[in-house]
């Protein structure tokens, strides 16, 4: 991914840099030959750019420029070339003397056309899939939108499955994505602002929000931070996330990401700002709250009793995933009187021949577990199951039988590991997994007091987190009675009073 870093760019050939940037600031001149030469210079060594010159009725010269593979050649042929070459000038549109004039008045049977005269703009448009038509003796070029290229079709969301709800997920194409949003929220209040970022990639970014419900401060912060981005390339929405997040030194994600249009639409309806990035099937939702990280896509479509239970299970398991290993150390090593006598005795029995201190055991197992998890993600699908078999056998069974690790530690570490998977947002599971390690060390040194210190520090950090001007722990701190109810009980929708959400 480091290819756009400055250090690498320096080593690139710099031969044409000055000349092409000089060219980009020029405007079109009257002679088509000259224009062609300038564009040829700009697109030097770009074999995918097609320059097609035609002469119509042996008098007007036209130059068509496009990126091969990014345009719909059918439309070019049937709507542009055919009428011009065979049918002559259109008769039904009043008096048109020349092809140049036709171009001037944008008389082509395609929807989206534009007239530009700067080479920079023209180049950008060509690269985004427009067809540029330059006519002789004309100082403007006609840009025709005939974009068509291969994209992935809409598929089921792979990372955020849900039992109930839409099966669509975003694709890499930003237009498809905005279309999906527009299809769900059919109101002119849904705004989709367009921004371009990346000095080289010119990535299309859309800021989407619902006028009236969106928080102005959040929207302005997002706009401002997006405009401040200074980089060569944006390849993924994650790159943007890093540029606009509140603080980098926090384990907690400050923007929610989702590949589901329904989740994004729900975010929009709640008054959040959505950032869509071309080339990335993941949308960013700002601001994020702690509790949003613990909500699943279908929380609001299932019946409330069940979801309330599930939510509480999530809360409990979140705590388990963060605290269980460190609590185990603190209780067995510092406060054994707090464990029920029979259980403590059983732990003591299993600890009898253990070669390592409990802290080291847990640390080792945690590291191995994280390793397994990482290995499972990167492996090809066919080898994936192998990891779990090897992991379960080697670590679960053999390590205990060989007396390297004591059995309770395996139980503790795997329970905590499984508990972190219950968190519906995968990215929100990271902080839980990460915070385990400092808490482990703290509990190994100070016992339960260490854990208390750790928890206090985490809570202080969470209260301090203020992404995009909205509190991270929102309904809890600052306290809001109405929204707080939603954290404890997912109240039936009919019984929830209507009103804007001020998240």
């Amino acid at each position: 991914m480091g290819w756009f870093r400055k250090s690498n760019v320096k080593n690139k050939l710099k031969t044409n840099d000055n000349r092409s940037s000089e060219n980009l600031s020029q405007t079109i001149s009257k002679t088509i030959i000259k224009n062609k030469q300038v564009l040829r210079n700009i697109f030097q060594n770009c074999s995918d750019i097609v320059f097609h010159e035609i002469t119509i009725h042996s008098q007007t010269k036209l130059l068509l420029i496009y990126v091969d593979g990014m345009v719909d050649t059918d439309i070019i042929i049937s709507n542009i070339l055919k009428p011009l070459m065979y049918d002559g000038l259109p008769q039904g549109l009043g008096t048109i003397d020349s092809v140049a004039q036709m171009c001037e008045e944008e008389h082509l049977s395609v929807l989206n056309t534009k007239k530009l005269s700067g080479f920079g703009d023209i180049t950008n448009h060509i690269l985004k899939g427009n067809l540029a038509i330059l006519a002789d003796k004309e100082t403007t070029a006609l840009l025709v939108d005939v974009k068509k290229f291969e994209t992935r079709s809409i598929e089921e969301p792979a990372n955020e499955p849900s039992l109930r709800g839409s099966r669509e997920s975003f694709t890499e194409n930003i237009r498809t994505n905005t279309t999906m949003l527009r299809r769900i929220i059919a109101t002119p209040k849904l705004k989709i602002e367009s921004v371009k970022t990346g000095k080289l990639t010119h990535t299309d970014i859309a800021i989407s929000y619902i006028e009236g419900t969106v928080s102005r401060t959040v929207l302005n912060t997002v706009r401002e931070r997006l405009n401040r981005i200074q980089t060569d390339g944006i390849l993924e929405s994650g790159n943007i996330e890093q540029f606009i997040e509140e603080t980098h030194f926090s384990p907690f994600p400050q923007l929610l990401n989702s590949e589901r249009p329904d989740v994004v639409a729900a975010g929009l309806l709640e008054g959040r700002v959505v950032i869509l990035t071309n080339g990335s099937p993941t949308a960013l939702i700002a601001p994020m709250t702690f509790w949003a990280g613990l909500q699943a896509p279908d929380d609001y479509s299932q019946r409330f009793i069940f979801i309330t239970l599930v939510r509480w299970i999530r809360y409990v398991f979140t705590i388990i995933s963060v605290l269980l290993p460190s609590l185990y150390i603190a209780l067995t090593n510092f406060h054994p009187e707090l464990i029920p006598p029979v259980l403590m005795l059983n732990i003591a029995i299993l600890r009898e021949n253990a070669p390592f201190p409990t802290v080291i055991e847990v640390l080792m197992m945690e590291i191995v577990f994280e390793g397994l998890q990482e290995a499972g993600i990167r492996l090809p699908k066919q080898i994936g199951p192998l990891v779990s078999i090897v992991g379960a056998l080697v670590i679960g069974e053999a390590a205990v039988n060989a007396g390297i690790i004591s059995a309770p530690v395996v139980i503790i570490v795997s329970t905590a590991g499984i508990a972190s998977f219950i968190i519906p947002r995968y990215s929100f599971g990271f902080p839980m997994r990460m915070l385990r390690f400092p808490l482990l060390l703290l509990s190994g040194i100070f016992g339960i007091f260490g854990i208390a210190i750790g928890i206090i520090m985490i809570i202080i950090h969470l209260i301090h987190l203020n992404p995009f001007g909205a509190s991270y722990l929102y309904p809890v701190s600052p306290f809001n009675k109405r929204d707080f109810k939603d954290v404890i009980i997912r109240w039936p929708r009919k019984l929830v009073k209507k009103g804007g959400n001020n998240a």
Binding site: P336, I347, E352, N353, P357, T358, F446, G447
Partner: protein
Amino acid sequence: MKRVANLCFALLLLTVTTGCWNLKEPNQLSFVKGAGLGLTEDGKLEVSYLVVLPAALGGGQISGGENMETFRVMSATGKNVSDAMVNVQSKLSRKVFSGHRDIFLVGQRLAEHGMGETIDPFLRIPKSVMRSMIYVVKNGQPKDIFSIVPFFDQFITTSLSDEQKAMGLKPYLARKFVEDVLSEGKQPLVPVVGLNPSEHYSYAGSAIFNKDEDVKLVGFLNKKETSYARWITGGLTRITLTSHVPKGDGSISVTLDSLDQNIRVKKIHEQMQIAVHLTGKGTIIENTTKLDPTKQKDLQLIQEKLNQKNQKLILELIKNVQEEYKMDIFGFGEQVHQQYPHQWKTLKQNWPELFSQLDVSVKVDLQFTNLGQTNTSIYP
């Protein structure tokens, strides 16, 4: 960032260099399931521990544990409690850990000598748990009880802590004992275990202590008496009573399981009168009489008979305690304290004397439910 890092480093150094690390792995501890205090024949204080041997308990990983003993009784004498405890510790390579102590035993000799002075430091060590059950060992030393190999459990202490519940008594914990000793109008009544010839223990009623005289053992109550006494103090959950019914020419047994008690103090001519009202609901479990409990008349007869019988027995017990031991194990003083707080201030000075002269009346009300289950005898 650098300052934070420096601070963290300094904190880490602090923790390491001060040596204030109280981390103890479970295999650095010797778990004490039971502790005992006793006096040897030559009058030395003896502390004994039932120490668990985890390696012998096995548990999947460790093999060859079957033939090893699962516990060891360690005891040592000393000048005082701490000295004796240090002496036991010197025999153990792992630190004594009393956090999971189930049972606390006191030898009879020490109890008779007066144990206030010795038990106080023992129970008050912060690391000692007040949850342990306390027993007096009749005719023996704590280590004799600890050495018994139980048949249900791994340790005799587990059996002992289940014993009281099995007897229908509410658990008498060290905490309760301390509470009784510190109270003003109540004397401790501590459960007793005895050693029987078959090398096993048996529950043997309870011991009466005099808290005003260095918590000295003054006498014993048998099992039946203990149940009655506990009924009055509210420490009973279940009791089985058997009574001969002359009219039906047979005996009737009942099990009572919702027991209640009510002690009222009346002041008549500056004299305190205690009215004890005991109620119980239960089931007839055995009936060898000709009476049919399903008939209202017969049932009334049975109830009256049992009420009278038990009333008499309980009154006898109270009289006996009043005259022989003069120890207010029933907590009548507490009741007087609660109902006549002003008078109590003067009364409490010589309460033991007053207690022995108290006028006590007892009323027992029993009710039987589930009458259909046990009927008349099929042999008429």
